[in-house]
């Protein structure tokens, strides 16, 4: 007879069985996560993993993503227990740290795909610009809730917004810069400054367009040209967008079926695991699948907005709202890019695209929203 190992799996299952029901209930109720948010998010993850499995012949990639997902979910759970008042305290320091890291990137960063975005810290290699997706709404929420609804606050918050946006733009990373700007402006919008300010802002923005255009890189200008007329260079700059549109369009109403993509499997569609994962999804699942996906996104973001609105502290409202706006903006920019209504800017689709950084950022964002839900009652900043 074989000797059973001392620590066999069965015994742990036994542990669950012998745990008293009361304790079990207490444990589960202490987690207290929002079912809507978790449900929609897991749904998106499921669709993402399914599409990733189709995009890659080897399961290594899929396993790696699952592994990251588990770590990310644990991180999310931990963050959901972090009280917003701590966030309120660390906000300015986090902002300063990120600015320093961005400057470091500017001088010592690694170059990948023609842009200086990566910072190698020996054990960890990451993009500080990604952190900004969380830290920007945090800082803006902090500034506005600290300064109140005054013109000075608005000016300071705009200044705080412009510095990192400029640094990211210099990397150059137009997509992330736009997203950061959008999330910052979103927080300002949610703060409820008067409508007249927005009109002035819009006017200023329009006036500055020629200046921005002048400072764009050649490849960025080409991407905007390609958006207007991708067929002008079908083998060069327009190739990605043409192939992506063919993939989505050829999916039709019902799609070609899982693992039956021709555009991705025969390598016509570029980057089917990362930036263009939506095109692959749309090809295999058709309009029906896409509507399901967008419905999940709408439900998730509306629920997050509801959580923000229900929060009793202004800081919490602004932070949760800003993060939600950021998530939806990422989704819109990515899908807009692969369907050819926005220029190709290299923004991944949260919860679905393959990649650790994006996954961790998205889950941190959800974690923050869950924490705001958990501690929605009014608290006083220390």
């Amino acid at each position: 007879m074989a000797i059973k190992p001392f620590l066999s799996l069965e015994k742990y299952w036994m542990l669950i069985l012998i745990t008293p029901n009361k304790l079990k209930r207490q444990l589960i109720s202490s987690i207290k996560l929002d079912h809507w948010v978790i449900g929609c998010m897991l749904g998106l993850f499921a669709l993402g993993l399914l599409t990733l499995a189709s995009a890659n012949d080897h399961s290594d990639l899929l396993l790696k993503q699952c592994y990251r997902l588990v770590i990310g979910l644990c991180l999310m759970l931990l963050i959901s227990y972090l009280h917003p008042k701590h966030l309120f305290k660390i906000a300015p320091w986090a902002y300063l740290a990120v600015i320093v890291l961005l400057i470091l990137v500017h001088f010592f960063g690694d170059i990948g795909k023609g842009a200086r975005r990566w910072l190698d810290l020996g054990v960890l290699r990451f993009q500080p610009s990604e952190c900004l997706k969380v830290i920007m709404p945090l800082t803006m929420a902090w500034v506005i809730s600290f300064g109140g609804k005054r013109h000075q606050t608005l000016l300071i918050s705009l200044l705080i917004l412009v510095i990192p946006v400029f640094l990211v733009l210099k990397q150059p990373d137009l997509g992330t810069a736009l997203l950061i700007a959008a999330s910052g402006l979103g927080v300002i919008f949610l703060a409820g400054f008067s409508l007249r300010i927005w009109l002035y802002g819009l006017l200023a923005g329009l006036l500055s367009l020629p200046i921005i255009w002048h400072h764009l890189h050649h490849y960025q200008k080409m991407r905007i040209f390609m958006l207007i007329n991708p067929e002008s260079d079908p083998l060069g700059s327009g190739y990605h967008i043409i192939q992506s549109k063919i993939a989505i369009g050829s999916g039709g109403l019902l799609g070609k079926g899982w693992n039956l993509s021709t555009q991705a499997h025969l390598q016509f569609l570029p980057e089917p695991s990362t930036d263009f994962i939506f095109a692959l999804f749309a090809e295999e699942w058709g309009l029906i699948g896409c509507l399901l996906l967008l419905a999940l996104w709408l439900a998730l973001t509306l629920r997050c907005l509801k959580i923000a609105q229900d929060c009793q502290s202004w800081f919490g409202q602004l932070l949760a709202g800003g993060i939600t706006l950021m998530l939806l903006a990422e989704c819109f920019v990515n899908i807009g890019m692969v369907t050819g209504i926005l220029p190709v800017v290299g923004v991944p689709l949260p919860f679905m695209s393959y990649g650790g950084t994006s996954l961790i950022t998205s889950l941190t964002s959800i974690g923050l929203i869950l924490s705001i839900k958990r501690y929605r009652r009014q608290w006083r900043a220390a």
Partner: protein, 573 residues
């Protein structure tokens, strides 16, 4: 609490708006433009290769191959391929191509056709550098007998000149007439390729259906003999079996080499061929229009006998000319001294023009033409070759229609000796001879002997009888005998005496078609003013098996050529 000024309300609106924009965009792509993108996705990864069917072979009546397959190689450039530049540069370096081609849009571009064996070998060795190249092998056509069968067989086009339906198509002759049967149905091979142009899998194969093999009634030995007998003369030879309409030899000289046209000669060389002085591309046997001259005489004699205008004993005096009543103009006989008293049999033997002037005058143009029409001289013969032409008989209606001139009595006189506006093709004269030989019971001329419907299953062609000509047998006999005497009679000397003694019996009739008037010819040394010579004959006289018609332009050799060919026919069978 929630007023319209609440920023969260506007944020919610914004969310709906953004998702709404995406939904509309997806509707546009996936529903409205679905068909376009679906096709674009197929075009991306599906590659269709045409599978050429095997074209049917052509054999002569004894099974000798007259048209056989030959492999031909082409190279194409794949459209929108990333390695296009490298491929072209490699081809130029290997000296397969002289200069880079003009690339039009996203279609495959033909780089070179009819590659030499050396080119094929070089391309095979450097295949890894030629990713954008599509190599294709198709079956081309070879005519082993070259120019000998050119006018009968015709030739096929170069399929690579066409873009939509690439296949060989017959342009002329048998190749064109039986093209549908010979060409078969092309197949398709659809394969899946990836973005790098590498083959992934085979999606569907629709095999080509081979064309049917056909056997012709032509006899290679007889055809070759006819071709050699004509040597460098200009003219036509038709040999056929009057009992079933099978054409045994069909020659038109000068001729051309069809193999040159298949492998694709340039426009200049083709123009040179088409516009050459003696027009080698022109099939004189079925298209050439010549005055039928004295070959009409046996038929006119038959009409005279049938209508009772003359009897076998009727004699006309030939002083060497004929004069219409109340006219001064003399229509001269070919023999200036005249033939004296001439009956109908003698008129055929010596080919007395005056006799026919008199007979024609008495018959009138309508009765004259009705008999000639019955012999098929006023309509296109139904032969299985394209572009056969019809001659015509001069008549008051025709002359008024085409020449806007009134009919004169002299026109009738000239018609009796097949001059004036009356013209015939050698095939028409051959069919008239076949009617004479079979006493009016011959068949439509044809070159198809049998079609191979399936392996070894030859379906024979069923000959179609022509409308019979009802003439009393004694009149047929008289004309047959007279035509036999044309060859053998020594007193008076028959016009066909040059045929000489033969081991078989022959009935024939000569003809000399004037190109210019006698007076002009006497002064002229120009070859193009010389008379054409006709010879029509059938043999043996009893139970004729073979009919031959020879036409020599501007030469007198028709009889001796016919002798050589008939000798070959009787030696061989």
């Amino acid at each position: 609490m929630k007023t319209h000024k609440d920023p969260f309300y506007w944020a919610r609106c914004l969310f709906f708006l953004l998702i709404g924009i995406l939904v509309v965009r997806l509707l546009v792509l996936q529903v409205i433009h679905y068909a376009n993108f679906h096709q674009a996705a197929l075009d991306n990864h599906q590659q269709t290769q045409i599978l050429y069917p095997k074209r049917g072979l052509i054999f002569d009546r004894h099974g000798t191959a007259l048209a056989v397959p030959q492999n031909s190689h082409q190279i194409w450039l794949k459209p929108n391929h990333p390695d296009t530049q490298q491929t072209l540069q490699t081809l130029i370096n290997l000296k397969v191509l002289a200069k880079p081609p003009v690339i039009k849009g996203s279609f495959p571009t033909l780089l070179k056709k009819h590659l030499s064996n050396q080119d094929v070998q070089v391309i095979g060795e450097h295949q890894h550098q030629l990713n954008a190249l599509h190599f294709e092998t198709s079956s081309s056509r070879l005519y082993p007998y070259g120019d000998i069968f050119a006018h009968a067989l015709g030739y096929v086009t170069d399929p690579t000149n066409q873009t939509d339906a690439p296949r060989y198509d017959g342009v002329n002759g048998i190749e064109a007439y039986y093209n549908d049967s010979l060409s078969g149905v092309p197949g398709k091979h659809i394969t899946s390729i990836n973005a790098k142009g590498q083959l992934q899998q085979s999606l569907s194969i629709q095999p080509p259906q081979s064309g049917h093999n056909i056997k012709l009634t032509l006899d290679t030995h007889l055809q070759t003999t006819s071709h050699q007998a004509m040597s460098d003369l200009t003219g036509a030879v038709i040999v056929l079996n009057p009992n079933n309409g099978q054409v045994l030899a069909l020659v038109s000289q000068p001729t051309f080499n069809p193999n040159l046209l298949v492998s694709g000669i340039d426009h200049q060389a083709f123009d040179q061929l088409a516009k050459a002085d003696r027009r080698p591309l022109f099939n004189r046997a079925i298209q050439g229009l010549f005055p039928p001259a004295s070959t009409l005489k046996p038929m006119i004699a038959l009409q005279g006998l049938e209508t009772g205008v003359i009897t076998p004993d009727t004699q006309f005096d030939d002083p060497g000319y004929f004069r219409l009543p109340n006219h001064q103009h003399r229509f001269r006989c070919w023999k200036e001294a005249g033939h004296g008293l001439v009956d109908v049999a003698k008129s055929i033997v010596v080919s007395c023009d005056t006799f026919y002037y008199e007979l024609g005058y008495r018959l009138g143009i309508h009765r004259l033409n009705s008999m000639l029409s019955a012999f098929g001289l006023n309509q296109t013969p139904h032969i299985d070759l394209p572009y056969a032409k019809s001659g015509h008989l001069n008549s008051p209606v025709w002359k008024a229609d085409k020449k806007f001139e009134p009919w004169y009595p002299g026109d009738t006189i000239l018609s009796t000796i097949g001059q004036g506006h009356t013209l015939s093709t050698p095939l028409q004269i051959a069919m008239a001879t076949a009617q004479l030989a079979t006493k009016g019971h011959t068949y439509q001329p044809h070159l198809l002997l049998a079609t191979e419907q399936a392996e070894g299953n030859w379906q024979p062609y069923q000959p179609v009888p022509l409308a019979p000509i009802n003439i009393q047998d004694k009149h047929w006999q008289l004309v047959h005998q007279a035509m036999a005497d044309v060859i053998v009679s020594r007193a008076p000397t028959g016009t066909g005496w040059r045929f000489g003694q033969a081991p078989y019996t022959v009935a024939g009739k000569t003809g000399t078609a004037q190109v210019v008037s006698r007076e002009q010819l006497a002064d002229s040394q120009k070859r193009s003013h010389f008379d054409h010579s006709w010879f029509m004959a059938f043999a043996p006289v009893k139970n004729p098996q073979v009919v031959i018609v020879v036409l020599v332009e501007h030469g007198h050799q028709a009889i001796s050529i016919a002798r050589k060919i008939l000798d070959a026919y009787f030696d061989h069978t």
